[in-house]
Symmetry: C2
């Protein structure tokens, strides 16, 4: 299984590549190149998800809370699987927001978890 | 929380939007517009993930197996959260493959789950 090169990647493959690229863009900045330290996590949250998290990603306590929630193996770092869980949760929240906008959820309350 | 329009979306926001768009592109084809039926799931797997799943996404049994694995609430449909779990798992597998290519995992076997 390898990543098709971008030109012939499908929309979904493109999304997957963008997530991998984004993680490695920040994880490689300090310490372990394949995990996000607290500093790297804060930079990624601020630069990549600022419009979702707003001021929360600038506030140390919030970053520590997010780090605590993500760091399921308690090694003080966020690895790729923990990062994908964050992105997945935010994407589901966005889709719910999108369905709210379409007034779908009020008609189909079971549509969401 | 809303999706920033694409021009000023970050790489990660772009990936999230692509996943939402892809799901709704196929879920809207028949039956419930906000879930993937078996037919819609097969079409999505074939067109979007053909290079990952190869022949498996054309074979009825494999699609049923994937549907069975994804359909955690057993309603015979794949909802958005179940779809994101599939994409997340495939993305982690791709990242592992990417790290294998860099001979990272042999040096850091704990790097993966």
């Amino acid at each position: 299984m390898s990543l098709p090169n971008s030109e012939n990647a499908t929309t979904l493959e493109n999304a997957m590549q963008l997530m991998i690229q984004t993680f490695h863009k920040y994880s490689g900045n300090e310490g372990d190149k394949y995990t996000l330290s607290k500093v790297e996590l804060k930079e990624m949250l601020t630069k990549e998800l600022g419009s979702y998290l707003g001021r929360r990603c600038k506030c140390r306590l919030s970053v520590e809370k997010i780090m605590g929630d993500l760091d399921s193996n308690n090694d003080g770092e966020v690895d790729f699987t923990e990062f994908i869980i964050l992105v997945g949760a935010l994407t589901v929240a966005c889709n719910d927001f999108f369905l709210d906008g379409l007034n779908v959820r009020s008609e189909h309350p079971w549509k969401t978890r």
